[in-house]
């Protein structure tokens, strides 16, 4: 008689043996992790969720002061605060997601070493819980946006409707890159140092604090081939009417996102089985 086993634990499973249905089974855990991340952030703080506002506001005013007032970098005829807010809203989401997910294995080593659940649950919940922070910042952006809209200084267009896609791309890309880095850091810890300053470097290679139009011709390829750039520029173009938009740029970002997600999941899937022995 052939016995039916519900599970067979073996040394290696095929890299393509992705158990997405298992992750779906653990959706409650994703939800609870999201809740934990959000609730625990502002426990024992006086201002609570208000902190989600204050950080970005200070950053934006610093940007206005340093890059606009002192360095006199063009803002493409968009009011400076709105320009920086438009750039940082999505960028901050990307940054928060990537710093969170890239340390998945190391910061969760304690839990991962004691109990099994699909490890992807952790980075996925990270990307989702950061959505709340993003939502609050978007809300703040919208306040400024309505103000300038009423003044008639900006000219939004139909590309605003691409916002959900932009968020999806940004989150997906951060998840993909983050889990690639987290998989590699289990063995080669050097990468975690890189991510610290690397993310700042990438910000300067992305039109967050400057418009594409202000880039000298010879440096343009660096920004054009940066897959984050089209996402930020599309956002800015849709909401303010000035900036740079192309379907091919967005298609490039999408392909890149799918690519890193694919590579990331495969790598993650391979590492998660034995990372406890090396971390």
């Amino acid at each position: 008689m052939k016995e039916t086993w519900t599970e067979v634990i073996q040394p290696k499973k095929s890299v393509f043996q992705l158990n997405l249905s298992e992750i779906w089974n653990y959706r409650d855990l994703i939800w609870i992790f999201v809740r934990r991340d959000i609730v625990s952030v502002y426990k024992q703080t006086v201002l609570g969720p208000l902190w989600f506002f204050l950080g970005p506001i200070f950053t934006v005013f610093t940007f206005v002061f340093v890059f606009n007032q002192i360095a006199k970098i063009s803002t493409d005829n968009i009011p400076a605060p709105l320009f920086y807010l438009a750039g940082t809203t999505l960028w901050n989401y990307f940054q928060a997601c990537i710093t969170g997910t890239s340390s998945t294995f190391i910061s969760n080593a304690n839990i991962f070493g004691k109990v099994y659940f699909p490890r992807l649950v952790s980075p996925i919940s990270m990307v989702i819980s950061n959505l709340l922070k993003f939502g609050i910042q978007l809300l703040m952006f919208l306040c400024f946006w309505f103000y300038y809209l009423a003044q008639g200084t900006i000219h939004p267009n139909a590309y605003i409707a691409l916002l959900p896609l932009l968020v999806l791309l940004m989150g997906g890309m951060a998840l993909g890159v983050g889990i690639i880095i987290s998989s590699l850091t289990t063995k080669y810890r050097d990468l975690s140092y890189f991510i610290g300053f690397g993310i700042t470097l990438i910000m300067y290679a992305t039109p967050v604090i400057y418009p594409v139009s202000a880039i000298p011709e010879m440096y343009k390829p660096f920004v054009i081939y940066n897959p984050i750039a089209p996402i930020i520029e599309t956002f800015r173009y849709g909401f303010t009417g000035s900036g740079y938009f192309s379907w091919s740029g967005l298609a490039y970002s999408s392909i890149f996102t799918i690519g890193v997600l694919l590579i990331g999941t495969l790598l993650f899937n391979k590492i998660e089985r034995t990372f406890m022995d090396t971390v």
Binding site: E7, I9, P11, D28, V115, D277
Partner: protein, 425 residues
């Protein structure tokens, strides 16, 4: 029905600093895989003995483990620290993958390698019940339906809305175990969680595990150093040594094998005259633990008389020698001390003498006991030798109904357990 089948299981770990040389090793491995050869860095023969210096950078924490577990069985896993018990549980609960071999499982597995995994200190008790429950694999509605039961079991009604960082460690453990105890897996894997918590809680925890296996027919795998808990709970046992499966079978047999092999306590010890404890006046030749038939053995039932023989050689004539006996339990509690006052005025001419002391039946409790044997003088007080924790014995209660325990199977505290007289009501 077999619910767990473990076949030729190996687990290899890297020793020392991970990082240096990993790239080179990775490359070597990758190259051999490419050529379709075996991994040259994996040495199947290396035994994991933590006291000897390794010859290879890799070590086998588990080495050719084979066993199967039947449905409803409570399987105990015993062995010294580093024998591979926790590694085995980790592989079984999918925390880490085996190096070779396979495990086949039937049913949902929940593992409890630590209490309170994932507890977040800032969250309240109730929030942590959800968090911990979900990490252990429960659905949200399952937790909601058992919430009251869990809070009740943990006995923390007053503190459900307090962050767990304000909890005492006992409350913390109780809450954590309560969540785990209300999981409903077909297979429950438990690692030494009972080491923490007070006696009342330990009893509750053991009771819960018994209920889980007996009434609900679930399978439990249980690792512990506590032989008492193991013998009370487990129907069968695995004894791991240096990563290999040394012995398996009925709990009583396995515990006996384990105790004699691992504690280094023996029932009798003989000394050569050149390394015998003692001085120019008297020295120890032999000490042994015996039963009433003068047979030397290690494991005793609680209603057996236990004797200790001290054989010593007197080198100078004296009339001031007293044999002494000390008894310690496995928690290192000094239970008693006794001096051989009967023979204290005896004149000893040079020669070999044997002192014997008897411990009455129904007097000590279950567990390992260690003896200290000595010979002293009173005028002035001198200890010629005191040989501690070389010989000893284990006591178990097979529950024939005649012992103090009667039919009670729970935790029975106390350092000694004499049969006391109760008046009729």
């Amino acid at each position: 029905m077999t619910v767990i089948q473990v076949e030729n299981l190996y687990k290899q770990y890297r020793l020392g600093q991970v990082g240096s040389g990993t790239l080179r090793d990775d490359f070597t491995r990758w190259w051999h895989t490419l050529l379709g050869k075996d991994d040259p860095l994996m040495k199947i023969g290396e035994i994991n003995d933590r006291t000897s210096v390794a010859t290879s950078d890799y070590v086998l924490s588990l080495r050719d483990i084979n066993f199967s577990v039947q449905e409803g069985e409570v399987l105990g896993i015993i062995g010294k620290n580093g024998a591979g018990k926790s590694t085995l549980l980790k592989v079984l609960s999918k925390v880490t993958a085996p190096t070779s071999g396979q495990i086949k499982i039937k049913g949902r597995v929940a593992s409890l390698l630590e209490v309170g995994t994932g507890f977040h200190p800032e969250l309240t008790g109730k929030e942590n019940i959800y968090l911990n429950g979900a990490i252990l694999g429960m659905k949200r509605h399952e937790i909601t339906s058992k919430l009251d039961e869990i809070i009740d079991f943990a006995g923390i009604q007053r503190y459900v809305d307090t962050p767990v960082k304000r909890y005492s460690s006992g409350m913390y453990v109780r809450l954590a175990f309560a969540v785990a105890a209300h999981l409903e897996p077909e297979i429950l894997i438990v690692d030494e969680v009972l080491a923490v918590g007070d006696a009342e809680f330990q009893q509750k925890a053991i009771g819960k595990m018994q209920a889980v296996s007996k009434q609900q027919g679930r399978t439990v795998l249980f690792v512990s150093h506590n032989m008492d808990a193991i013998s009370r709970l487990c129907t069968s046992c695995l004894y791991l040594k240096n990563g290999g499966l040394e012995f398996s079978g009925r709990t009583d047999d396995v515990i006996q094998k384990y105790l004699s092999a691992e504690t280094q306590i023996v029932s009798s010890i003989k000394y050569e005259s050149n390394d015998a404890p003692g001085n120019q006046m008297v020295r120890l030749l032999e000490s042994e633990v015996i039963n009433q038939h003068i047979e030397s053995k290690l494991n005793y039932n609680i209603d057996e008389k236990i004797g200790v023989n001290i054989t010593f050689e007197v080198l100078q004539e004296t009339n001031d020698l007293i044999a002494g006996f000390n008894l310690y339990n496995q928690m290192d509690v000094h239970i008693l001390s006794s001096h051989d006052t009967l023979n204290q005025n005896k004149t000893y001419t040079p020669g070999i003498y044997k002192a014997t002391v008897w411990l009455p039946e129904n007097f000590l409790t279950e567990g390992m006991h260690y003896c200290g044997v000595a010979v002293m003088s009173y005028k002035p007080f001198t200890v010629h030798f005191h040989d501690v924790a070389k010989i000893g014995f284990n006591i178990s209660d097979r529950q024939n109904g005649e012992t103090v325990r009667g039919n009670y199977t729970g935790v029975f505290p106390g350092v000694i357990r004499p049969k006391l007289n109760w008046d009729k009501i």
